[in-house]
């Protein structure tokens, strides 16, 4: 593992841009629930002024930042707050060393395929009380948190083995970045994505791809994240060079691919890739606006809530999924007035952070209680897991409902 000081400085850190206006303190989900985290103003630019590459890190609370980026979004001065936090976290963990738990959790892409293949054995094991207690004690993965089940065939396998749609030749191609979770844990999101894209007159291709690397950023492993990024850029470049745009259905993968590869990690080729990457709902809206496709959705009479994931907000493209959902006749869909579900990716699975994640999630639960929807829609797999856990309601990716509202519903398992 490289020490922080051996790495080149990738970007200027600008704590002095901060004017201490405290706007970020009105947005941070963590400091809103616990005094253990001093909040973005103090943890980011405040503490940064005292940090030195040659001295050992003393930021014992820096791991409590969930990297939700909400502070960055509200800052009127453009301070890269979450980036300052991330760099401090990376240094802290580089010095202290990472746990086996971190090593394991960020490799879900490697183990996922295997776990999916043996899902009949793995899934019951992950629900088994004794196994969960063991994981809780040995790995400090909180046993109160449901572990996501694995599905087989994986999305990738399903896509490869499905019959090719007839009349598909000559249509515009679009590539799909499905992300690990869709591949092995929520394959229906991928199937819905393919069906909705095809219904909009597109031919879907699935280029080879790896984990985007954002779980590694979560544990401050910049080098690991850069490796994953480099591989993905190499794998996706040919698609982009063919002039094919790539859509993603996970907003966190999307943020990583489109922005962090270049802005944070400075990876060569990242900018070329970014110009061809789109959130899938953003892409579909563009198609409709350019009048290249005009799918009329059939009515769905239902009361639905839409939750905007933090990383979607960081993409700063508005709420394209909500705009699309509003095109379904009869669907009463409203935005949940809540900031951050609290899960923070792997964060909420960790025993020492479970209570914080739960407490942040409480505000979302209350917003759900006020609205009383039948179904909740959100673009991020982490948010979906957390909202299911908190509310017990049916929680889907917006694409899954859009698929159900397609004019000629395609049968799906």
């Amino acid at each position: 593992m490289t020490k922080a000081e051996e790495r080149p400085v990738l970007f200027p850190k600008l704590p002095d841009v901060c004017v201490r206006c405290a706007t970020c303190m009105a947005a941070c989900p963590v400091s809103r629930v616990t005094p253990r985290f001093p909040g973005p103003k103090q943890a980011g630019p405040g503490a940064q002024r005292f940090r030195s590459a040659s001295e050992a890190s003393v930021d014992d609370w820096i791991e409590l930042c969930t990297s939700c980026h909400l502070c960055d979004m509200v800052c009127p001065a453009g301070v890269p707050i979450s980036e300052l936090n991330l760099m401090a976290k990376a240094k802290y963990l580089n010095e202290r060393g990472r746990t086996f738990r971190d090593w394991l959790l960020v490799r879900s892409d490697l183990f996922g395929e295997l776990a999916a293949r043996f899902s009949k054995i793995v899934n019951p094991l992950m629900k088994n009380g004794a196994v969960r207690r063991l994981l809780d004690v040995l790995l400090r993965i909180d046993r109160r948190r449901d572990l996501p089940g694995y599905e087989y065939p994986t999305f990738r396998r399903w896509f490869r083995t499905r019959p090719v749609a007839s009349g598909a030749s000559g249509r515009r191609k679009v590539a799909y970045f499905y992300g690990c979770f869709t591949n092995t844990n929520e394959t229906d999101v991928g199937k819905a994505a393919v069906e909705v894209l095809e219904a909009h007159g597109l031919t879907v291709v699935v280029p080879p791809q790896r984990c985007c690397g954002i779980p590694r950023l979560g544990v401050g492993d910049l080098r690991g994240a850069m490796e994953m990024g480099g591989r993905n850029i190499d794998l996706l470049r040919p698609t982009v060079r063919e002039g094919i745009d790539i859509v993603f259905s996970s907003t966190s993968c999307g943020l990583m691919l489109r922005h962090e590869y270049s802005r944070l990690l400075g990876l060569p080729g990242a900018e070329e890739l970014a110009g061809h990457l789109f959130d899938i709902c953003e892409f579909l809206l563009h198609l409709r606006e350019e009048e290249k496709s005009a799918v009329t959705f059939r009515p769905l009479s239902m009361k639905a809530a839409y939750f905007a994931p933090c990383h979607l907000r960081s993409l700063d493209i508005g709420l394209p999924a909500l705009e699309l959902l509003r095109l379904i006749p009869g669907l009463d869909v409203r935005l949940l007035e809540a900031d951050c579900c609290g899960l923070g990716g792997l964060y909420g699975f960790k025993k020492e952070k479970f209570t914080i994640a739960e407490e942040i999630g409480k505000d979302l639960t209350e917003a759900v209680d006020r609205m009383k929807p039948e179904i909740i829609l959100t673009d991020c797999e982490g948010c979906r897991m957390q909202i299911r856990h908190l509310t017990g309601l049916r929680v889907l990716h917006p694409l899954q409902l859009l698929r159900d509202a397609l004019p000629q519903p395609i049968a799906h398992p």
Partner: protein, 408 residues
């Protein structure tokens, strides 16, 4: 590419007001701000013009004041314009958490510095502060909450003060937002109410820091008043302002529900200007830059803090459109002798000069951009801080800019 009827640049009170006014008129609107705007910095009450003494009705005082200040942004809106804009603003906040003026005049409200400050529209949670008397008021601070020093406030206001500690909740080090969130919990506010009641010695008014809930402030107020039997009021304090955050959330909720595209977090880095018209703006989210187009634009980017104005070595500039800025003389002339001079520092007079339609004009009075209007504190010839007119200018000019833009 989608074309909007109106793009609003800036998510402060002026921008939010402009966006809402336009949406109410049926326009397709996009609003974008590089941050959350200044509502969390001020935004506690709605100042209109603190200079008007509390004895004078605003309907009488403001027209007279406008006559003496023909260059002021209020001269563009007139008293009628201010009135309709404020009525519109109030419509966004139905009871119980509503905004009202005491007898159509300024009222004096206690502040977190222990001073009395004139203001106009007051949220329901602060209304009792205007009626408080030093004898008969208890100021309650919370131990470990650094943004509100109850002792200082009570000392200056000449009231009795207590600092409470609620050990079970571990208040030590809590932020304003964390406290406001706790207040939304029934068990917490009931416990706090009980703790206050035990400290009371016949007081009729209770003053607390302005953290009485984020979602349900009126409910928090009601609980505390029922338990203590006194009238309870919030006292505005240091940023981040919880009352300002409530206002921001209310606007955002309403705008998104009505179909406005709400962008936040990245700066507008460029404007495409052709033949005296803005054709599009670019929002920078590295490594990408997204272009958005509309028929009309409203520039509500504030002053120096919001990034609407920028101080170069010898000049104040407007960085986005390079609109001519009224200059307060050279750098040597920008600041007065003393920081707290009652007269505003000359630099605060800098800003954009407009025609009656709020379109920016140059030194000769010629309109520089046909389809761009300016609103809020970026306008020249006001002293929002000293006059205590910030929110009034934001609301009145934001409203007018949207009305005029859509009429064009």
């Amino acid at each position: 590419m989608k074309r909007f009827d109106l793009i609003v640049i800036g998510t402060g009170l002026a921008g939010l007001t402009a966006a809402r006014t336009a949406v109410e008129m049926g326009a397709k609107v996009l609003i974008t701000g590089r941050g959350m705007g200044a509502l969390t910095l001020f935004g506690n009450t709605i100042d209109l013009l603190g200079e008007i003494p509390p004895e004078t009705e605003m309907a009488e005082g403001i027209p007279r004041w406008i006559a003496a200040h023909p260059e002021h942004p209020y001269a563009r809106t007139g008293w009628e314009g201010i009135e309709s804009a404020l009525a519109d603003f109030r419509g966004l906040f139905p009871p119980p958490y509503s905004f009202a003026a005491e007898g159509k005049r300024n009222s004096l409200l206690p502040t977190g510095a222990g001073t009395m400050r004139p203001t106009y529209l007051i949220p329901a949670t602060m209304a009792a502060g205007a009626a408080m008397t030093p004898v008969g008021t208890l100021i309650v601070g919370l131990r470990g909450f650094k943004d509100f020093q109850g002792d200082t406030v009570s000392l200056h206001l000449k009231c009795r003060g207590v600092t409470l500690s609620l050990p079970r909740y571990g208040l030590e080090g809590l932020t304003a937002l964390a406290l406001a969130r706790l207040m939304d919990e029934a068990s917490f506010r009931e416990r706090l109410g009980e703790a206050i009641r035990r400290q009371m010695a016949g007081e009729r008014f209770i003053g607390l820091p302005a953290v009485l809930g984020l979602r349900n402030p009126a409910v928090v107020l009601k609980t505390l008043e029922e338990i203590t039997g006194a009238r309870v009021f919030e006292i505005p304090m240091l940023p981040p302002s919880i009352p300002g955050t409530r206002v921001f959330h209310r606007f955002r909720e309403e705008l998104i529900a009505k179909g406005t595209i709400f962008l936040m977090g990245h700066p507008v880095s460029g404007a495409n200007v052709k033949d005296g018209r803005c054709e599009g703006i670019t929002v920078e989210n590295p490594p990408l830059a997204a272009e958005y187009r509309a028929d009309r634009y409203i520039l509500a980017t504030g002053r120096f803090l919001g990034g609407g104005l920028w101080a170069e070595m010898e000049r104040i500039v407007e960085p986005l459109f390079r609109i001519p800025v009224f200059q307060p003389g050279g750098r040597g002339m920008w600041f007065g002798e003393r920081f707290f001079d009652p007269e505003a520092h000359p630099i605060h007079r800098a800003g954009i000069v407009t025609d009656a339609d709020l379109r920016p004009v140059d030194e000769t009075g010629r309109v520089v951009l046909e389809n761009v209007r300016a609103a809020g504190s970026i306008l020249a010839h006001h002293q929002a801080t000293e006059e205590k007119s910030r929110e009034g200018i934001d609301i009145a000019t934001g409203f007018l800019a949207a009305k005029r833009a859509l009429a064009s």
